[in-house]
Amino acid sequence: MKLKKLELIGFKSFYDKTTFDFSAGVTAIVGPNGCGKSNIVDAVRWVLGEHAPSYLRSKVLEDVIFAGSDAAGPLGMAEVTLTFANDNGNAPPGYESYAEIAITRRTFRDGESEFSINKVPCRLKDIAELFLDTGAGARGYAIVAQGKIGEIVEARPDEMRMIIEEAA
């Protein structure tokens, strides 16, 4: 699986629909303080199933929906889609025949979240299972939030065990 595209609308400071096309190699995300870079990292963890507000720098899950600014009023919905290309063969079980896997999460002000894989509604559990043991889950070793790089070194022995088990 390779990361192909990320689409955000109404997620935190991304009021308008915004698309990121990813290619192989290194993609750098740059910009001034407060412009929305870490919000993109939050969007990726959220669509992969992150359910604890504190891991999303929020108090409640609705805080991920665009709350308004001088330029526009608050929105009622946030939606993120992460699309993977299934080119190099290690597709998750059950998805070998798909050329792409698009994961979508949508939430409304009432707190309900809807998930879908390739536009087919599914549960949070189904998304979590897609990335089981790959490190790319919402809290896997492959995503390091801002300021948290030192934490893996401060992990307790039982926590370090869980990290290594995920890679087994």
């Binding site: 308008d16 990813f22 990335f131 492959a142 022995p157 370090m160 088990e165």
Partner: protein
């Protein structure tokens, strides 16, 4: 699962022993089972020795040394069990120029096989990128992407 765990543990430990000295230009690093007898439940400790220094508890490593040790470990795990991508948010912030260059060289090498997404303020790291996305908030409070030209 006993075999799977011990195989992964051995492989990650071996890689950690290679990646760490490369980033630190010397020194040693290892993962150790806290309780050797109990492979299935034992916790795992990290042991590092910086070049020229005595082996000290991880807590007395400097800010940059901790970050570079963590990067060595994450990349070692990645080499054994790659995930579809690796997303790092300003992990180069505590590093001095020499360590940023060593980090970038390793990312450049690994990026032939794996996809990296790096949030950074460091110009040296920006130069490494194949694709550069700029984020701006020209309209108050609303994020948008812009194309970025890296000045030569």
């Amino acid at each position: 699962t006993r075999e799977r765990f011990s195989k992964a543990f051995e492989e990650i430990n071996a890689k950690f022993g290679e990646v760490f000295p490369r980033l630190f230009q010397g020194g040693r690093a290892a993962l150790r089972l806290v309780d050797e007898e109990n492979l299935l439940e034992s916790g795992i400790g990290i042991f590092v020795q910086l070049p020229g220094k005595k082996s000290l508890p991880l807590g007395s490593l400097s800010g940059g040394e901790k970050a570079l040790t963590a990067i060595s470990l994450i990349f070692s795990i990645f080499l054994v069990k790659p995930s579809p991508f690796c997303l790092l948010d300003e992990v180069d912030a505590p590093l001095d120029d020499a360590n940023v260059d060593r980090f970038n060289a390793l990312v450049r090498e690994m990026s032939h096989r794996y996809q990296y997404l790096l949030v950074t303020h460091n110009k040296r790291t920006m130069e490494l990128a194949d694709v550069l996305y700029g984020i701006t908030m020209e309209k108050h409070g609303i994020s948008r992407t812009v194309s970025v030209k890296l000045n030569a």
